[in-house]
Symmetry: C2
Subunit: 315 residues, 2 copies
């Protein structure tokens, strides 16, 4: 019997590849979908034209379901939604914005809509807006993150007991063991970011991938909390933010310090000191390149093995 | 077949009650031990004389194994160790200090020694010092906490793959489901703090317990990061720390602001605005009084039930 997440997307394994800026183009999304998971194209780093091209290529590369991650605060959102409609995209994960503004429209276009949240409060708002499922993303996750700093271990059971729609766990999940842990807490699927961000099909710069493989415990930090909290590998840019915040910088000054295009600079161009190197805490457990299909298979195999072992041990 | 943590302590269930300041006297520790877990007396809020009294009463109240949590940076540590030796205490959990300075002595006295860490680095140091097991405590835990901010979901598997001695998971664990999650990540036992901090046998003030039951997501914060990071319920004191830090306060100024005895004031005297209200993020899931024995039984029962369910579901 498949669970609600498998049924909702029509996928073999409830393993979703996060739609990450500068990492998740058609190559990554189609590879994950072909392997039985759900691949997502990350629209947050794409113009409408580029997004259209990635969707078209993805359709050519796989006949399995795939989706698009759409950050709702993106300036070009209207053009992007037009592209999704034109291309007949069936699955949309929305994030970073108010789901009430867009969910009814996306649902009217016949799409399955999932919203990413970092709190019970926003999980409820998302459910009320009519989404089909929720991604509950904990403090350990890479990239943009919640102000409550609630970890996956605390957030997932709290969201599961609050909403009735399926919950997908995210943050700190890069293995079959972590997937079992998430499912035990009540999730019906997992969204994996970091491990896919550095796989072969990720369009991230090789220098960024190397930096992730080398990252140890404590090497990522949730920074820019006075603007929008974001988890990055510590580098010169992070240090300047720290010094500015310690010196009492205003929001305006921090915005100026951040400027534009730092995620592109870090992830896509490989500028390790001036770029934003978005990645999760779980990077401490990642240290080598892999194919996307191998990641899906390894997570699923470990998930099944660990479940079997659990049943056969006294404790 | 019992696992290594059950064997090490001679306990029925690998559920350890954290030795928490102002909460964990003989009443709580003996209640947990009598219920089949491992109760710990929290020496961090006790003089040597008070500690001796609690150990003696605990011995009268239970014939099951119990232990003492000993913060190694405590000023009265030498007198406390003397008391442990005099009273023949068999199990010591050390925390907040260098295990190399004390482990050999405690081992020579015939004690089983466990050290609490928040990083791989300190887990290795603890293992090298000769401890019998490690508590790996994540960012979501209450009270004093690590600088790396690594969550339980990321920390536990990382520590498990680094050391060979048994690992006990802590931080965010207050249910049988969370216990399954921790064990799946490789832990062989769990240390539960928050849920026991507000149980009937906890010596904490009723007003503190009420504050914990009322705490929602985002209501705890890891603060005083420039001194020693500590997770507290947000209150006037936390806000003053935040303002001081934003204004660039020096370490000396923060020490002065902190002063002495704030944990006592908050937890034991119930001063909700001026006291330090140490508690974990998982407080968001706690909302009513319970007996310590009921907590042990409920965690264990849920742990067994969830394991059984897992074995019988396709996903």
């Amino acid at each position: 019997m498949p669970n609600r997440v498998q049924v909702l997307f029509g996928i073999q394994y409830p393993i979703i590849q996060a739609g990450m800026v500068w990492c998740s183009g058609w190559k990554l999304a189609s590879a994950v979908s072909n392997a039985g998971g759900l691949g997502l194209i990350g629209a947050g780093s794409m113009s409408a034209e580029i997004l259209q091209e990635h969707i078209r290529r993805c359709k050519q590369a796989t006949d399995k379901p795939f989706g698009v991650n759409l950050p709702l605060l993106y300036a070009g959102i209207e053009q992007q939604i037009e592209v999704l409609q034109q291309e007949g995209v069936k699955i949309v994960f929305t994030s970073a914005g108010n789901p009430k503004l867009y969910t009814p429209r996306l649902k009217d276009m016949g799409m399955t809509v999932v919203h990413v949240v970092s709190s019970i409060k926003f999980a409820l708002k998302a459910q009320e807006s009519g989404v089909d499922a929720i991604v509950a993303e904990g403090f350990e996750a890479g990239g943009h993150n919640g102000r409550e700093e609630t970890t996956t271990l605390c957030l997932v059971p709290a969201v599961v007991q609050t909403v009735s729609i399926p919950v997908i766990a995210a943050g700190g999940i890069a293995s079959g063991r972590a997937m079992v842990a998430a499912m035990v807490l009540g999730a019906e699927g997992v969204q994996v970011g970091s491990r896919f961000a550095v796989c072969e099909e990720s369009s991230a710069h090789q220098a960024y991938k190397q930096a992730v493989w080398q990252a140890k415990e404590g090497d990522t930090v949730l920074t820019l909390k006075t603007l929008t909290p974001v988890r990055l590998i510590r580098n010169e840019f992070c240090e300047r933010v720290r010094l500015a915040e310690a010196a009492g910088a205003t929001v305006e000054e921090l915005k100026q310090l951040l400027g534009k295009g730092r995620a592109r600079k870090g992830i896509f161009e490989g500028d390790l000191q001036e770029g934003e190197l978005e990645i999760g805490q779980v990077s401490m457990l990642l240290n080598h390149p892999e194919k996307a299909s191998a990641i899906v298979e390894s997570i699923w195999q470990e998930f099944c093995d660990v479940k079997k072992q659990l049943a056969n041990t006294d404790i």
